[in-house]
Amino acid sequence: MSQGPVVVVGLGGLGAPIAMVLAKSSLPAIRLVDGDTVERSNLHRQVLFSEADVHASKAHVVARAMRDLGYAGKLEVVEAFFVPERALEFAQDASMLVEGVDNLPTKFLVADVAARLDVPVVHSAALRWEGTVLAKPARGACYRCLFEDIPHGADAPNCAGEGVAGPLVGLVGAWAADRVLALRDGALDDTELSRFDGWAASVRQTRVARRAGCSLCRDAGSAFPIDRSRYAAPSTYCVR
């Protein structure tokens, strides 16, 4: 693996614990990307943020916490959202991407950028009592092999009012970070999907194979245009 930074996209309920675990690693460089600020309404489900951080940049608060934990590598802070127009710039020189973002278009965007850069990527999500972590080596099956494209209309998940169980985001985030280190160590040959059921306290793991005809894998990411029109938000998706 190159010495380029592991780029953490999104520093909310999942991104913060991901960064905390990575702070204890020997990764040579980490880049934190989030344009959001800490809101009072975030505090109950985000382990890292306290009252004193309200209105501060999430990326800066997380970076400070990583230093406090003893992270000694190179730490870069990008106080901006990972949007199509700037995603390649923010991911420049990345050795790997990891995301815990709260919206589907950005998850697809991260997948597309990782393919373009030919680097591994870890996707993580948590909703109510369930979570998923997809860990993809550079040449493994991608997010689009599994989920094809941003859902619209009847396909769009209706999750207005969904909440995330606090302990579950910590667990899923820690597992996502663990998979980052596994990919760094070359421990995964194929893409691995982990599914958490926080209610039944179970974890299921599956190997994911490439889907024939996957638009992203077919182009090997190289010709896949990273253009805003591809990432239009569906009419409904999980927002909070």
Binding site: E130, P151, C159
Partner: protein
């Protein structure tokens, strides 16, 4: 035979909040038809005219049915079918 079907969070409004329900059938397609009888509206959330919705994956045990026999995949007693949609959140 009765098969356990694991329902993901976004679809539990259709199953009275249950995270696991039972369905009968010899293939995945038959299970989905039975699910529709028991929980109207569920089939449309899983299938469109072309088959399984692009946004949904069905796992029989640990295997994605795309790599088995698709909707014609045979099921046997003790199997569990998991519905895995893309989710965002955290």
């Amino acid at each position: 035979m009765s098969i356990t079907v694991r329902i993901p969070t976004p679809l539990r409004t259709l199953t009275g909040g249950n995270d696991e329900v039972a369905a009968e059938g010899a293939t995945v397609a038959e299970l989905i038809e039975d699910l529709e009888r028991r929980h109207p509206g569920l089939r449309d959330r899983l299938l469109d005219e072309k088959g399984v919705r692009r946004f949904i994956n069905l796992f029989l045990g640990e295997e994605d049915i795309r790599f088995l026999d698709g909707l014609r995949t045979e099921v046997k007693s003790g199997d569990a079918l998991s519905i895995v949609p893309a989710i965002a959140g955290g």
